[in-house]
C-alpha cells in the first residue's frame, strides 16, 4: 500500500506502523521508548504525529498504516508537542552529555538534536542522586533514567529473568531490582539485556566506562566462544590498541535475538590477557623455554615421524577441539588420518 509522509508517497505493508515506515525510509521521528524487540509501548510520547482525519496527535510507534494515510511529522503543532516531551525528559534528568558514556549513542541526545533543543528549559531533578555500582558488570545511574521501560520489558519478556520492574509511581517512578535491592544484591544474573536496551546512559557496562568513545570503536560481528547456542555477538574494538572494549548481542540474529549471558557479554578478557602465549615453548629438563616456530615445528614433526615409525600410527592420538572452527577441526582430523595414518582422533564432546 501507499502512505504519504509529509506529502511524499512511500510503500508500506499492512501491519507496519507509521514509525516503522518512516525509519525504514530514513525519515527520523523522535522516539525514546520504541525498540523493535520491546515493542510499541507508546509511552514516551515523543513520536507524536498528525494523521489526517484523526483528532489530535497520534503516537506513530503504535499507529498502524492504512491505505492512502496522510501523515505529517514536521508541522509546528507536531514539533511543539515533541519538543515539550523531549524538553521534559531532559529537564528531569542529569543529562550531562560531556561526561556520559552514551554520548554519541544516545536516543535522547538524537531527539534533542533533531528538535534543536540546546539546553533543558527547566530543572526538575534532584541533586541528591545515587549511582548503583553494586553489580559486578553493570552500573545504574537512575538520574539519567527516562522511564522508557525497555529494560523492564527486556528483563521480563525477552530474557525472562524477572528481576526489573517499576517501583513507585508518577514523578517518583523508578526502576527497581527485586524488592528495590541494590543491583548487586538482587537476583540479577547480569545478562546485560537491560544495558543493551537502555536508550540513554542510565544502565551501562561498568567495565567500559572511560574505555573509549562509541564513534572511535569498530564493530564486527562474530559468534560467542562459550556454550553451543551460538549467540551472535557484535564486538566493539579499539583499533588503536587492537583491544576488545565491549560486546553486544546482534538483535536480528535468529539464534539469540540480541540476548547474551554474563559470560558472552563480559567474559572476553582472555583474548587480551597478559597470560597469552606468544611464542612456542619447548620443555627442557622439566622447564619450558621459548623457542622459534621453526625449531618447535621441526621437533614436533620429527617426534611424530619417529614414533610413528617405531610404534606404528596407532600409538599416536589427537584431540580435536570443541572451541576452534570447523575448518581447523577439519584440518586436524585430516592431519591425524592422512599424515599420522590413524583414526585415533576425538575431542571432549562427552565431557
Amino acid at each position: 500500500m501507499i502512505v504519504y509522509l509529509n506529502g511524499k508517497a512511500y510503500e508500506a505493508s499492512p501491519g507496519e506502523t507509521v514509525l516503522q515506515v518512516a525509519l525504514r525510509n530514513h525519515l527520523y521521528i523522535p522516539h525514546l521508548c520504541f525498540h523493535e524487540k520491546t515493542g510499541k509501548a507508546a509511552k514516551c510520547r515523543a513520536c507524536v504525529v498528525e494523521v489526517e482525519g484523526m483528532p489530535g496527535l497520534k503516537t506513530s510507534c503504535n499507529q498502524p498504516v492504512t491505505e492512502g494515510m496522510k501523515v505529517t511529522t514536521n508541522s509546528k503543532q507536531v514539533l511543539d508537542a515533541q519538543r515539550l516531551v523531549v524538553d521534559l525528559a531532559l529537564s528531569s534528568g542529569r543529562h550531562d552529555c560531556l561526561a556520559c558514556e552514551q554520548n554519541g549513542n544516545c536516543e535522547l541526545q538524537d531527539a534533542a538534536y533533531y528538535l534543536g533543543i540546546t539546553k533543558p528549559s527547566f530543572q526538575l531533578y534532584d541533586d541528591n542522586y545515587e549511582i548503583d555500582d553494586s553489580s559486578e558488570f553493570i552500573v545504574v545511574d537512575r538520574s539519567k533514567c527516562i522511564s522508557c521501560g525497555r529494560c523492564i520489558v527486556g528483563c521480563n519478556h525477552t530474557v525472562v529473568n524477572e528481576v526489573l520492574n517499576y517501583g513507585n509511581r508518577g514523578y517518583e517512578t523508578k526502576i527497581v531490582f527485586d524488592t528495590d535491592l541494590p543491583m548487586g544484591s538482587s537476583t540479577c544474573v547480569q545478562c546485560g539485556e537491560c544495558v543493551q536496551l537502555c536508550p540513554v546512559g542510565c544502565i551501562i557496562d561498568k567495565r567500559t566506562i572511560g574505555a573509549g568513545r562509541t564513534w572511535e570503536l569498530d564493530k564486527v560481528e562474530t559468534v560467542c566462544p562459550y556454550c553451543g547456542v551460538g549467540c551472535k555477538l557484535e564486538v566493539h574494538i579499539d583499533r588503536t590498541q587492537d583491544k576488545i572494549i565491549r560486546i553486544t548481542g546482534v538483535e536480528d540474529s535468529p539464534t539469540n535475538n540480541g540476548m547474551l549471558c554474563v559470560k558472552g557479554r563480559y567474559g572476553f578478557d582472555f583474548v587480551n590477557s597478559e597470560e597469552r602465549l606468544t611464542s612456542p615453548m619447548i620443555k627442557e629438563n622439566g622447564k619450558f623455554r621459548e623457542a622459534s616456530w621453526e625449531e618447535a615445528i621441526a621437533l614436533v614433526a620429527s617426534k611424530f615421524t619417529s614414533i610413528k615409525d617405531e610404534f606404528g600410527s596407532d600409538s599416536i592420538v589427537g584431540l580435536a577441539s570443541a572451541k576452534v572452527t570447523n575448518e581447523e577441526n577439519f584440518a586436524f582430523q585430516k592431519f591425524i588420518r592422512k599424515e599420522v595414518g590413524t583414526n585415533n582422533v576425538d575431542h571432549c564432546a562427552r565431557l
Binding site: 524477572e162 526489573l164 520492574n165 517501583g167 531490582f177 527485586d178 524488592t179 537476583t187
Partner: protein
C-alpha cells in the same frame, strides 16, 4: 497467617491485591515485609519485583513498618477548601511527627491521601477503617485522645 490467607485465594496473579490487603491488615505494623513478598511471590508464581511494583504503586500499601493506627488525612481540593491544612498542622503538633512518620510510641502513623469520597463532610480523615468527617480542631483532639486511651 499466610496459610490462612492463601486458603481463601487461588494462586492467580489477579488475587495479588487482595492477598496484600489481607497480609497488611493482619500485620501488627500494617506493612508488607520483604519476607512476605517472597512468600507471596512463590505462592502466585510471580516475581518479587512484580509485587514490589504493585505494592509501591498503590497508596494503601506500605513497605515500611507503621504504627498501630494509620491516620490518612484527605488533601484533595474539597477538603483543602474546608481547611485540611489546619487539621494537618494540628495533627502534626499533637502527634509530633512529620507526614509519613510514626509516633515514638508506635500508636499512630500520619499519612496524607487523595479523596476518600466523603467530601460532603470535608475535611475528612480515615483512621484505619473508620472515617471521621466535619473535622474541627477540637474534634481532632478528642478523636486522637480516644485512640490514645486505648480504642
Amino acid at each position: 497467617m499466610y496459610k490462612q490467607i492463601f486458603g481463601k485465594y487461588t494462586p492467580k496473579k489477579e488475587n495479588l491485591i487482595y492477598i496484600l490487603h489481607e497480609i497488611q491488615d493482619q500485620h501488627p505494623e500494617h506493612y508488607i515485609s520483604a519476607e512476605a513478598i517472597k512468600i507471596v511471590a512463590e505462592y502466585l508464581s510471580i516475581s518479587e519485583s512484580h509485587i514490589q511494583g504493585v505494592l509501591t504503586f498503590y497508596t494503601m500499601f506500605s513497605t515500611k513498618p507503621r504504627g498501630r493506627n494509620i491516620i490518612r488525612l484527605c488533601e484533595s481540593p474539597p477538603c483543602f477548601l474546608k481547611g485540611s491544612e489546619d487539621i494537618l498542622r494540628q495533627l502534626r503538633q499533637l502527634l509530633e511527627v512529620k507526614i509519613g512518620e510514626t509516633t515514638a510510641d508506635g500508636i499512630f502513623t500520619l499519612e496524607l491521601c487523595a479523596c476518600l469520597g466523603v467530601c460532603g463532610n470535608a475535611p475528612v480523615m480515615m483512621i484505619n477503617e473508620d472515617v471521621y468527617g466535619d473535622l474541627t480542631e477540637a474534634k481532632v483532639e478528642s478523636i486522637i485522645a480516644s485512640y490514645r486511651g486505648g480504642k
